[in-house]
């Protein structure tokens, strides 16, 4: 057999009820290469790597490891054949030491007694091999995320992994940590370990990989030589079109004299003395670091956190929503940061999700008018271009961008006037992001008002009419469109307003 490749996936196909996740995908991995795997969310990357690890059994196709043929993998077989995966969520036990985590499942034993010393010694060796400076006795929970990941990598190496698959490894890391992770990747590469590297961050792909495989909608699109390619080419293959501009233009639709939302000296939920005016048709960006109190502010306006003092005025009238229900009935909506946990009812279908806030309204004597229910869902599915085979599809089967659209559809059905977006494009791929931006433009152009919380500076600057920056629960500054600049925002985000009491 062909010894040129350590891992070959041939004609992999995976069908789920109603969805084809992978159609005839073939890729090869050479020994000691770092192969980039990219594609939008829902392109099939995760399914593909799960086929390698045995977490998913392909409908058809073959997997060859060192020329040995498998029609499907099991987690056990994958490990035996040197395939290791590092998922975004680590498989570690925070209350155990680094050494114990390294030997999780098969500790070095002396009879029935665990040989702590030997494990620590072996762990030291493995860490040294990787140039990682971790004390094997440290509890994993006390390590930074970056070091926790290194323990994961060490665990894979200890099991003699020949192919290491890394799923968005840089997502939780700081830039310094990413650098050290890269070093380890290169070190492994020099020892002949192959790496499949999945990332949304294209600059990392260019820095690290030698070849790039691109998937789109479950199809294999192409493989590119990294040094002969460029970002635009990658994006074109990923989305199937050129991205001429990342933020769509919109008409000026602000009604200057029409203040929709006004916060006066609002204090509570960790925020202090927030003064804010939001005019009809405006997109107001809320900038700041994670934990600056932006989500907390949104929670107060949406009625899920208590206001201690100060006022919220909506259409000039004082309001004090105590539950989300009250806020919704006033015309306020929240698209939360954590889509899966807080936004969509994943187990329920598209139709139910869209109608959820309005069921009391479309019911007579509590009996749902199923015609209106269907019509409403149909309307927003079309308006928002939600890609789903049927309205009865469970939302968990949709891609991230489409889940976000379902949540948006719910609020449009509820006739919301003020929509608070909390990190609306987190974890959403390039193409779907652009669609969400276009929808936000459509919303303000049709007379809605948006409060946009975003940690992505480009998004904040590209979409907002005005940006207010928070730091440690206080407003530290406001920027008009012509003042927008990354460093100006960051300066405010890091500053603490000194107030003379």
């Amino acid at each position: 057999m062909n010894e040129e490749y350590v891992l070959q996936l041939q004609h992999i196909r995976k069908e789920y009820p109603g969805v084809i996740a992978l159609k005839d995908v073939s890729i090869e991995v050479k020994p000691g290469e770092i192969l980039g795997l990219i594609g939008e969310n829902g392109a099939g990357k995760s399914t593909l790597i799960k086929c390698c690890s045995g977490a998913v059994i392909p409908t058809s196709g073959k997997i060859l490891v060192n020329g040995k043929e498998f029609t499907s993998m099991t987690p056990q077989l994958a490990a035996e054949n040197g395939i290791a995966i590092i998922y975004q969520e680590f498989n570690n036990v925070k209350g155990l030491s680094a050494a114990e985590n390294l030997f999780l499942g098969n500790p070095i034993r002396n009879g029935i007694i665990v040989d702590q010393k030997a494990m620590e010694k072996k762990a030291k060796e493995v860490f040294a091999q990787l140039n990682i400076n971790i004390n094997p006795k440290t509890l994993v929970g006390d390590l930074t995320v970056g070091y926790q990941q290194m323990v994961e990598i060490a665990k894979a190496i200890k099991q003699d992994a020949k192919v290491l698959i890394m799923d968005e490894p840089s997502a939780p890391l700081t830039s310094a940590e990413v650098e050290s992770m890269f070093k380890i990747c290169r070190l492994l590469q020099s020892k002949g370990v192959s790496i499949i590297y999945i990332s949304h961050r294209l600059e990392e792909i260019f820095e690290l990989t030698s070849r790039i495989v691109i998937l789109r909608d479950g199809d294999y699109i192409t493989t590119l030589e990294t040094d002969k390619s460029n970002v635009n080419e990658l994006i074109r293959h990923m989305v199937g079109r050129d991205l001429t501009e990342s933020f769509p233009p919109r008409k000026d639709c602000i009604e200057k004299d029409h203040v929709i939302l006004e916060l006066r000296n609002l204090t509570g939920n960790g925020d202090q003395n927030i003064d804010l005016k939001l005019r009809k048709g405006e997109i107001l960006g809320l900038g700041g670091l994670v934990g600056a109190g932006r989500t907390e502010l949104a929670q107060m306006i949406f009625g899920c956190a208590a206001v201690e003092s100060g006022k919220i005025l909506f259409h000039g009238k004082e309001i004090l929503p105590k539950t989300p229900r009250e806020a919704i009935d006033l015309g306020i909506a929240l698209v939360p940061e954590d889509r899966k946990r807080h936004g969509a009812l994943l187990e329920m279908c598209v139709k139910n999700n869209i109608n959820m806030p309005i069921y009391p309204r479309i019911s007579k004597f509590s009996v749902i008018d199923s015609k209106t229910e269907k019509k409403t869902a149909e309307k927003y599915k079309d308006d928002l271009r939600i890609k789903t085979p049927t309205l009865d599809q469970q939302v968990k089967n949709l891609s991230g961008g489409n889940q976000q659209k379902v949540i948006l559809g719910k609020w449009l059905a509820a006739n919301s006037e003020l929509i608070i977006f909390d990190e609306p494009t987190r974890g959403i791929d390039v193409g779907a992001k652009f669609e969400i931006y276009k929808l936000m433009n459509d919303l303000v152009e049709s007379g809605k008002t948006i409060l946009l919380i975003s940690s992505e500076l480009e998004e904040l600057m590209g979409m907002s009419d005005r940006i207010v920056v928070l730091s440690q629960g206080k407003i530290t500054g406001e920027l008009q469109k012509e003042e927008f600049a990354q460093d100006a925002i960051m300066k405010l985000a890091f500053s603490v307003k000194e107030e003379v009491e």
Binding site: E347, S366, I368
Partner: protein
């Protein structure tokens, strides 16, 4: 399309189990299939069935109501007490005692929703409390001597059909209506599926919980009335352990203990399976101790099946 057919078969699997049991017991003892015996089963089952409607809602939101058995007992005692010792009319006594059962549900709702005690503990505590109350009121002695007409509820017939069976069918009808046609049903599924997301979608989760535990109390109360009429005497241990059978029925009917999944129609099958099993074992002279073992195993089997199903869907 093949998978849709498979899913349909899977979601109706419980009915095949029922058919299998039916055939099995008939072969073991032909008397099982006799009209008289089938009506006996239907009547026995009716009390489980009525209480199971409320329990289905509770389990659907990932809760549990361990007080159902005690509520049944207390309704027996209180209704009998009101009729025999306090001289209330039949209708008044029935209405008051079912109202009381509903209020116990409200109380459970208060502890679970407003105070935030885990349902298993809150309803366990009220189980003990109201069992004690039943002993206290009755003094540990059965109460009997009701109006002849009271017997109709549990022992009467309309045509060939026993009245309790009709009551059960109506209850299932109401339950199915609430779950499928009213928006409350959608809210139940939403709360069971993801409480936080449900709240942020505008569902008043607290109210839903109050409503559900009250409904559970209400249906348990109805079951208590049927039981009282059937036995024609209020025993201070009447409903003891009933919650176990009711929960088994519901879980056997495929309502996921993790919340968010389940159909009222399949709970009907779950109820009938428990009924057949109990009756069939009695006909086969299986000792009541062995019956306990079998029922426990059935509960394990039902929940185990649900868990395996969940695990598969992860892949």
């Amino acid at each position: 399309m093949k998978s849709t057919v498979m899913n349909t078969i899977k979601s109706k699997a419980i009915w095949f189990v029922l058919a299998f049991l039916f055939i099995g017991f008939t072969i073991a003892n032909p008397r099982f299939i006799s009209t008289k015996n089938l009506f006996t089963i239907a009547r026995q089952v009716s009390m489980y069935g009525i209480a199971a409607v409320g329990m289905t809602f509770v389990i659907l939101i990932a809760g549990i109501d361990l007080s159902a058995g005690s509520v049944i007992t207390l309704v027996n005692i209180v209704c009998a007490y009101l009729m025999v010792k306090a001289g209330f009319g039949m209708a008044t006594a029935v209405i008051l005692s079912v109202l009381m059962a509903t209020l116990i549900g409200v109380l459970n709702g208060f502890f679970v929703s407003t105070i935030g005690i885990p349902a298993i503990i809150a309803t366990f505590a009220s189980q003990i409390i109201f069992e004690g109350a039943a002993y206290l009121i009755s003094g540990g002695i059965p109460i009997y001597g009701f109006d002849e007409r009271f017997k109709v509820i549990g022992q009467g017939f309309i045509g060939p059909v026993p009245v309790p069976v009709i009551i059960m069918i109506i209850c299932f009808g109401i339950g199915s209506f609430i779950l499928n046609k009213s928006y409350f049903g959608r809210n139940f599924y939403a709360v069971g599926g993801n409480e936080e997301a449900a709240k942020l979608s505008g569902i008043q989760v607290g109210r839903i919980k109050y409503m559900i535990y009250s409904l559970s109390g209400f249906f348990a109360g109805l079951a208590g009335i049927v039981m009282l009429s059937r036995t024609n005497s209020a025993q201070p241990t009447a409903g003891s352990g009933y919650e176990f059978d009711v929960i088994t029925c519901v879980v056997l009917g495929g309502v996921s203990v993790a919340g968010g999944h389940g159909f009222m129609s399949n709970v009907v099958a779950g109820v009938m399976i428990i009924g057949c099993l109990t009756n069939g074992m009695i006909l086969m002279n299986v000792s009541s101790y062995t019956q306990m073992i079998v029922k426990g195993l059935v509960l394990l089997f039902a929940v185990g099946f649900d868990c395996l199903q969940k695990r598969k869907s992860h892949y």
